[in-house]
Every structure is written in C-alpha cells, then in structure tokens.
C-alpha cells in the first residue's frame, strides 16, 4: 500500500482520457443537445402559431356563419313578402276579371233582352196588325194607317 510509479501511469491515463473527452466526446454531444433544444423551441413556437391561426379561422368561420344566417333570414322574409304580394295581386286580378265577366254577362243579357223585346214587339205588331186587319179588313187601308200602327207598336216596346 505504498505510493509508487503506478501513480504516474494513472496520471498519464487520466490526462489522455480528459483530453479525448474534451476533444471528441463533449463538443458533439453538447452541440446535439443545443440543436435539439432550439429545434424543440421552434416546434413549440410553430405549434402555438398554428393554434392561434386555428382560433382566428374559427372566429372567421363563426362570422361567416352568422352572416349567412342573416342573409338567409332576409331572403326568406323577402320571399314571404313577395308571395303575399303575388297573392294580393292575383286576388285583385281575379276580382277584376270576375267584375268584367259579370259586366259582359250583364251586357249580353241586356242585349238579349233587347232582342227578345224587339222580336216580341214585331210579333205583337204583326199580330195586332193581322188582328186589326182581320177586324178592319174592310174599313182600313193598310197604307193609310201605317203611321198609327207603328206608333202603337212603338208604345208596346
């Protein structure tokens, strides 16, 4: 258990080990560690940025959705209004058409009445004439009394 030359040998070994570690072991490992550290930091920053962008996109999507809903509600209300208008319009048209048809029918009836009256008048005039002719065959000259007969027949109208 004495101190001897082994000590010198050990010191040489130790020096070599430290030199080797200093030269070939420590720097590359430290470099790798540092690089990974910065890489992780970058990754985290990118993730955070992505998150932010996603939140922004969500917000925008919500805005768009709200806008679309508003627009669709407006379109629906406009359509309803238009439908009401159309209904009102067609109601008016139908009434007008009906009135017109009633008027036309009334006019036709009037005309037919007139025609019938005319026919009747002529028939009555002819009947009266023939009756008068029968009665007055002998006393009345058809040409002479025509004015009177016409007057009578007009009074019948």
């Amino acid at each position: 258990m004495s101190i001897n030359a082994t000590l010198i040998g050990q010191m040489i070994t130790f020096t070599l080990l430290v030199w080797f570690t200093m030269k070939y072991v420590w720097p590359p490992l430290m470099e790798a560690l540092e690089e990974r550290k910065s890489k992780i930091a970058e990754g985290l920053a990118a993730a955070e940025k992505g998150q932010e962008r996603m939140e922004l996109a969500e917000k925008r999507a919500l805005t768009y959705l709200k806008e679309a809903k508003d627009q669709s509600a407006e379109i629906v209300s406009r359509a309803q209004k238009r439908a009401n208008e159309v209904v009102e319009e067609s109601k008016g048209n139908a009434k007008k058409e009906g009135d017109r048809m009633i008027d036309a029918a009334k006019a036709q009836i009037e005309q037919e009445i007139q025609q019938a009256k005319e026919g009747l008048r002529q028939e009555v005039a002819a009947l009266a004439l023939s009756a008068a002719e029968q009665i007055l065959k002998k006393e009345i000259n058809k040409a002479e009394h025509k004015a009177i007969i016409t007057k009578v027949s007009n009074q019948l109208g």
Partner: protein, 259 residues
Amino acid sequence: MATEAHAAEGATGYIVHHLTPFSVGEGFWTLHLDTLFFSAALGALFIWFFKTAAEKATTGVPSLSQNFVEMIIEFVDQQVKDSFHGKSDLIPPLALTIFCWVFLWNFMDLFPVDLIPGVAGMMGVEYMRVVPSTDLNATFALAFSVFFLIIYYNLKIKGVFNFSKELLLHPFNHVLLIPFNILLNIVEYIAKPVSLALRLFGNLYAGELIFILIALMPWYIQPLLSFPWAVFHILIITLQAFIFMVLTIVYLSMAHEDH
C-alpha cells in the same frame, strides 16, 4: 469464499491475499499492473461508449444509449453550471471524465470478490486487485491532477503576483501575519487533494474489505449479508464518484475567483 489453499493460511491470509496488488518492479518504480490495466480498460470502456454516442448523436429522437449518455452529460453540465460561473472548455469534460471513470472504478467493487481474481488465478496470476479505487496510487493520481489544475488556474487567472499576494495576505491582511497566512494557505491547498484521494480510497477500501469479510462467512449467511451490502454499495459508489466530481468543480471554480 475461501479456497483450500487460503483456508490453510487462515482468514488473515485470505484477506491479505485479496488486498495485495499484482505488481512488477522494485521500490518506487513498482507498477501495480492490475490497477493500471483495469483503470485503462474502464477508461477505454467509458471513451468507447461516449464516443459511439457522440458519433451517432442526432438532433432528432435519440436512441436509448444516446439518451443515457445525454442524461449523464446534462447532469454533469448542470453541476458545473451550478458551481462554476464562467466559460471553460476543460472543466465540463474533466468533470464528466472524473464522474464516469471513478464510477466505473467503484463499480468493480460489485463483482463477487473471488470472481476475477479466481479467473486470473487460473491463468497463473497470483495476485489480483480489481477495484482501482482501493489503490492509493489511483486516487492520488486523480487528486494530484486536480491539484495541478488548481495551481494552474490560480496562476493563469490571477497571475503570479496576485496569487502570491493571496497566499501571503489572505485571510489576514497584515504584514506581521504573513507567516501565519502562508502556513494556513499551504494546509488549505494540501488538504484539498489529500482529502479528495483519501475519501474515495477509504470508502472503497472499507467497502471491499467488508465484502471480503462476508466472503469468509459460511455460505448460507453470505447472501443475507452481501446482498444488502451490495445494494447499499450501489449508493456509495455513485455518491463517491459524484462527490469527487463536485469537489473538483468547486475547487476549480474557487481557483477562478479573484479575492
């Protein structure tokens, strides 16, 4: 467990045999071949493992071995950053080397006490002491290297003049107290490597001795004792490596500080 030959020499013979290094040479020029061989081999193991990891180091997802190496590197780096303020290319790798090397030395303690000496005995090597930290030469080699670095950094950072001034006028700044200051500082500086080396040596030597004593017990008692002691030793070997590393960092950072 004692072989017949050792049993003949008794327990003392067995213990002495286990604590005798495999050496060549005479006097000061004796070389403990076992210490030199095992520490060099463990150093090579450390270098190989870390160099492989360093070569394959990627910035992407690390492999298992790279992860392990990086864990140790970050741990050591953190220790250095905690105690040493400033930038140094030498101190972090130095701390890493000390931590891993001393840990591997100490780890040899966990091999069964008769395993490697037994194998060596079969190959004709009579003495074999496998734990380098139980050799004072190994621990003092480390401690002296650290001591030289302390002196080197003191001279480099403070300069010869300031360093001498510090030795003469610190802690008591008075001309009359210079001899006292010198004495105090010499004791302080010598105490650093001596305490470093003896702490490591003492812990591991005692631990190894207890393993040897357990090996002298009857076989049915041995597991009951050696298992708890080995588990406890896992803590000791790591702790001793850690203490050696931290104290080295602390001493070197003290050398960097100007008073």
